[in-house]
């Protein structure tokens, strides 16, 4: 990395943060667009967690939505049945998802990358079955409605429900925190280990690095973010059902990562920002929107094989005059 790139990068990050925080305010009185913004932030959070595993360790956890579901159901049950505050229930839900994620990630310790991906698909369908089969906690496929918004108590100002633009701002902050966590992890020595494991786990093991430990940690953090997103989703949309967390949701989150650019920090954000709003914005084209979505994915894969960001980044670098070495796209950090 040359110094010439540092300034634009810092400026870009500052701009992005400002934009993320300003957007909910800008659309505050158009609740529909505000909702799309909120949903997009949730997907930024989710893709960050998915990216940590799929982009940096090469393990694609397609039971990701199931884990988000566990986070959501644990949180909602704690809040609605046990009367626990959302701010306590949400971390508990996230940890529950993380623990389940680590357990379900165990096959990954034995399975070579892609077999794990396919078997995680099966794990996901088992989780969906369980959600439907235990209506005591999930109310089956009728779902849980009227989930209350989290409340916030400010000293001297009393208690208020977190609604409207405040909720979207909260989601913006949560999404940024998630991206920050993933960025820190990948920038640390851990991150280097994770990539080493992705590239060649046998060799990495031979170098004396505890491959298992790092994979477990990656699973933990990734699933934690999945669960956290699930908890926020439940209380933001105010409704959850097993269908909110089915295999298509998993595949969609992963598609956003791949669409934007695996293994980069910005790529998944780009993917989420482009793809998450599509179903909402193409309301009037409801007969064609799935087709448009699919065509977009195919076109990007054909013409920008490393994802939108992963493919544009090297060009951007070249334009900025940085003497970036030609690397395989999709395998570098921003």
């Amino acid at each position: 990395m040359t110094d010439r790139l540092r300034v634009p990068r810092v400026a870009g990050v500052v701009l992005l943060v400002a934009l993320a925080l300003a957007l909910p305010v800008a659309v505050a009185d158009r609740r529909f667009y505000a909702f799309i913004v909120g949903i997009t932030f949730l997907h930024v959070l989710w893709t960050a967690g998915m990216n940590l595993l799929s982009g940096f360790t090469g393990l694609i956890p397609l039971m990701y939505a199931g884990l988000a579901g566990i986070g959501a159901y644990v949180t909602v049950n704690l809040v609605m049945s046990a009367g626990v505050s959302f701010w306590l229930a949400m971390p508990l839900g996230a940890v529950a998802a993380a623990v389940v994620g680590v357990v379900l990630g165990l096959p990954a310790l034995r399975l070579r990358g892609f077999y794990f991906t396919l078997s995680s698909l099966v794990i996901q369908s088992a989780l969906t079955l369980l959600f439907v089969y235990f209506p005591r906690f999930t109310q089956g496929d009728t779902g849980i409605s009227q989930i209350p918004a989290p409340t916030v108590t400010l000293p001297g100002l009393g208690t208020a429900a977190l609604t409207g633009v405040w909720f979207e701002e909260t989601l913006a902050v949560a999404a940024m925190l998630a991206v920050l966590v993933v960025w820190r992890v990948t920038r640390s020595r851990w991150g280097a280990y994770l990539v080493a494991i992705r590239e060649d786990d046998v060799l990495t093991e031979a170098l004396g690095i505890d491959v298992t430990r790092f994979r477990v940690i990656a699973f933990f953090i990734s699933s934690l973010l999945a669960g956290m997103g699930g908890a926020f989703y439940a209380h933001y949309v105010a409704f959850v059902s097993p269908r909110s967390f089915d295999v298509l949701t998993s595949l969609n989150i992963w598609l956003m990562v791949a669409f934007g650019g695996r293994g980069t920090i910005a790529g998944p954000i780009v993917g989420a920002v482009i793809l998450a709003p599509i179903p909402y914005l193409l309301q009037d084209l409801y007969l064609y929107k799935d087709i448009i979505y699919g065509v977009l994915i195919v076109l990007v894969t054909v013409f920008l094989p490393a994802g939108v960001w992963g493919s544009l980044l090297p060009r951007l670098r070249a334009r900025l005059g940085a003497a970036a070495p030609a690397r395989v796209p999709g395998k570098e950090f921003v």
Binding site: R30, G140, F239, S241, R243
Partner: protein, 403 residues
């Protein structure tokens, strides 16, 4: 692109026809002004697109008829569709856009369980009236409901009605249940099991399939060895037809089947083999008590879609008329006044004359027909009314049975 000469000719012809028709039709005052908006959140794409599309088309027919006859309060009525992709989150987003952007008077439209409940949550939290045409969960009118009104009788009640029917057909008879694990099915069977005890009907078999199951041969054989007098079959989607056929294969007679509900496509799917079977419904083109509205709906719908409407289409059609009537009673498009008018309404369903009265939770005075299939052709069928029953929404503890 400029219109082709042919298109232009067609347009001219259409205009001329419109002028002629305008002169011939009874001079209903042209509705004018800001339309009265109904936000129609429906499954226009996704897994259950069939139900959303069929329901919306029926609602459209009602909208056209009402506007041709002068609208409501002198204003046109407008059914504004929003697709929910059979996805609850999308349904909430749709509710949001209809509420805050289009400023609709009321929400309506969902035909699927979870989308209806998602909209229910939004409506109750944001104080928007919500008239549910076709969703049968008791939870949509659970005690404390303020803004939601359910036009379709609740599914636990259907279970009650089924047992009452069996009791009449064969007192002390036995019943086998075979169904898919969907919330609707769980609610119906909860009602059956509850009422069966009280009606001295024995449930000898209770077989539930996971969603996505495809084969029921083993279960059909098991059920055959128990040999119940009647079998209640409620598969999810096409699996319903598979179960029915496989039960017939192992030797059940059609007259032993009770399907809690029969949509047209379902009945056609069961086919000629099922002549003699019973199904529950709330409207059927074979009923004797059809009025002009009902016949008009059947004719127009058939011309538009190529198949005959059944209870789903009728609920969607008559819901628009119900909303119109409530707006007239309220005399304004104020949401609270509209809600209060619905609460106080005491009217008849436009197509059947069956009473519409809502209790304090928005649940309707309930009723059900049981029909016996007489004939199934390629795209039509005929059946005969075998049983009719009305009951109070809380005749059995529906809210505890399907929480």
């Amino acid at each position: 692109m400029p219109p082709s000469p042919r298109a232009r000719r067609a347009l001219a012809l259409a205009l001329a026809l419109a002028v002629v028709a305008g002169g011939v039709l009874p001079a209903a005052a042209q509705p004018r002004g800001e339309p009265v908006k109904i936000g129609w959140i429906s499954e226009l794409s996704g897994t259950w697109a069939f139900f959303g599309a069929t329901c919306f088309d029926a609602a459209k027919i009602a909208e056209e008829e009402i506007n041709a006859r002068g609208g409501v309060l002198g204003r046109p009525i407008a059914v504004l569709p929003q697709d929910n992709r059979t996805d609850p989150a999308q349904a909430v987003a749709a509710a949001r856009v209809l509420d805050s952007q289009d400023k609709v008077l009321t929400l309506s439209g969902p035909t699927s369980s979870d989308t209806a409940l998602a909209v229910y949550g939004y409506a109750e939290q944001n104080k928007v009236p919500f008239v549910v045409p076709v969703a049968a969960f008791p939870r949509l009118t659970r005690p404390g409901t303020q803004w939601t009104f359910r036009v379709e009788p609740d599914a636990v009640g259907w279970g009650y009605a089924i047992v009452k029917f069996v009791e009449k057909q064969k007192p002390g008879g036995t019943l086998g249940l075979i169904y898919s694990d969907y919330a609707l099915q769980r609610a119906i069977t909860a009602g059956i099991k509850h009422q069966a005890e009280r009606s001295k009907i024995q449930v000898v078999s209770d077989i539930v399939f996971p969603q996505g199951a495809t084969d029921a041969t083993v279960q059909a054989a098991q059920l055959k060895t128990r040999n119940p007098d009647y079998v209640v079959v409620i598969g999810g989607g096409a699996f319903d037809v598979t179960i029915t056929n496989q039960l017939l294969d192992v030797g059940f007679r059609p007259a032993q089947f009770i399907h809690p509900f029969g949509t047209v496509k379902q009945i056609l799917g069961w086919g000629a083999r099922s002549v003699g079977s019973y199904y529950g419904t709330f409207f059927d083109h074979s009923l004797a008590n059809l009025n002009d509205y009902a016949r008009g709906l059947i004719e127009k719908f058939k011309a538009r879609k190529g198949y005959i409407p059944a209870y789903i289409e009728n609920f969607c059609y008559s819901t628009v008329y119900l909303i119109k009537e409530a707006v007239e009673k309220a005399g304004s498009t104020d949401r609270t006044k509209f809600r209060d008018a619905l609460r106080a309404i005491d009217t008849k369903e436009i197509t059947t004359g069956i009473p519409i009265v809502f209790d304090k939770n928005g649940a309707r005075k309930e009723y059900m027909y049981f029909m016996q299939i007489q004939e199934v052709g390629k795209d039509t069928y005929r059946s005969r009314e075998a049983f009719y029953i009305e009951w109070d929404p809380e005749v059995i503890p529906v809210y505890q049975l399907a929480p």
